[in-house]
């Protein structure tokens, strides 16, 4: 019995040690870089949702110790593009650097902002090659939610370590994100016409589903971008009113 178990573990490990190979899991044929997808699930939840005119990103943040500040999880890539990460933060910052470089080189050449879908597509393609089809490098252990606006409106993209790319109305990644997703699904139709305040509140409520602790200024970050407004992270003052509404919800 034990032997059997050990051989199974060994077998799993063999695939796991070569992340780029095609492998067999639970009878389903998948890429073996599901481990990288697991890494995404280790990170605190990250939620994104959009209406016609705005996109909102919200993340949980947690300080590593009482003496440290919390890890930044939402980044600005360009005036109209922001990125939230979940998973290994170091991989995330590397991805952000690549995204920023892409934005800068596009705006240097064309003096305009890059199309969000093409930006997301390029990073997804890069991850497909470098991280999941070739040996010699591991998959990036981070999931991205890219929020942005361009001439064609607002967009919310999710990029997985496998190179999968999804264009979402609303999405959640990271630990216990399933609860957030389920919550967001209820508003899928109405969301389109939400005002910015409503959308922020929705994102926070969805985020709330993914954690057992209360949401405070210290434990969450919210960022917005819209057709008319550039990307920015909300400061503590702006957060206080939606957070106050959130607490009245629970009472």
């Amino acid at each position: 019995m034990a032997d059997n178990f050990l051989s199974k573990v060994r077998h799993e490990l063999r695939y796991a040690s070569r992340t780029f190979l095609l492998g067999v899991r639970k009878g389903v044929f998948t890429k073996s870089n599901v481990d990288a997808m697991e890494a995404v699930k280790q990170g605190g939840a990250t939620v994104g949702c959009k209406s016609k005119e705005y996109v909102v990103l919200a993340t949980l943040k947690r300080a590593a110790s009482e003496l440290s500040s919390s890890q930044q999880k939402i980044f600005r890539a360009d005036d109209g593009i922001g990125v939230a990460i979940s998973g290994l933060t170091a991989d995330g910052t590397a991805a952000i650097r690549a995204l920023r470089q892409d934005c800068t080189s596009h705006s240097f050449t064309f003096q305009s902002q890059v199309e969000v879908c093409r930006l997301a597509g390029r990073i997804a393609d890069k991850w497909q090659v470098v991280c999941s089809q070739r040996s010699g490098s591991r998959p990036s252990g981070v999931g991205l939610l890219i929020a942005g606006r361009d001439m064609r409106g607002c967009h919310l993209y999710q990029v997985c370590p496998s190179g999968n790319l999804y264009d979402h109305v609303a999405a959640a990644i990271g630990a216990r994100s399933q609860a957030s997703k389920t919550y967001l699904e209820k508003f899928q139709v109405q969301m389109d016409n939400f005002s910015l305040q409503d959308l922020i509140l929705l994102a926070l409520r969805a985020l709330k589903e993914a954690t057992s602790e209360p949401l405070t200024k210290e434990t969450c970050t919210v960022a917005v971008v819209g057709v008319e407004i550039p990307f920015r992270v909300l400061n503590e003052d702006e957060l206080s009113s939606p957070l106050a509404k959130l607490t009245t919800d629970t009472q």
Partner: protein, 280 residues
Amino acid sequence: MIPTRVSHNPIIGPGVVPFGVDPAYDAQYKLNQAPRSHVASHGQGKPFTVEPGPHQRTQYPYVTGTTVLGCKYKDGVMIACDTLCCYGSTKRYKSVERIKKVNSSTIISFTGELSDFHYIVSLLEELDTTDYCEDDGSELAPWEIHSYLCRVMYNRRNKFDPLWNSLVVAGVKHGRTFLGTVGMIGQHYEDSHLAAGFGNHMARPLFREKHTDDMSEEDARKLMEDCLRACLMRDKTMMNKFQIAKVTAGGLEISEPFQVPMNWGYEKFKDPTKHAVGAW
């Protein structure tokens, strides 16, 4: 390679050594300047000789187009030019379409070297194909194409290998009318009317006098034809076969070639020396 010399002669400046100061250097310099015969590395084919002197890139254009005019008007923007490309001063190619469609909202025209323009068009085609393949409904805007061309032209000039053109980019997108130009060394500007090439001297004054941004299409076309005529009568590398292209929010249109009415029979043209004594 000529060895790099360090000289700090205050009159001559650093790095320059005049003949006679260092005989060894002079000898090396002469050797480098002497014609050398080359034989292909595989030992076959005719040997050839390379002229002495430094490596040279494009020194002058060969087949050139002249004046391009452009102006904005109420509903859009139009550009005009003739269909001639000259080999030196020979009117060599008389039916060259010098205005090209870049994408559904942008047109481009050129003065200067025809072959360099072909190269530029191939670059833009590649960009447009990329847009087509993405198939997400977005296309480069005229100002983006202008900006791209500025980068290309400036980059090439910095390699001391300029593309010998002045380009005019015109288009309408997202309710914005664009008219811009970029030159062979990367100098660029936008304006509500502009001219590239010789027309800069001939047509701009007329535009400045009569052009307004809110003029109707007929007025703009008439002004354009006046400017073309003014250029045509003074520029020997121009001919009376023109095209006007216009871009509006509704799309773009490049006209069939047409002529402008001309008159060379003015009294003072008949005996030019009579009114300019001593000029001939």
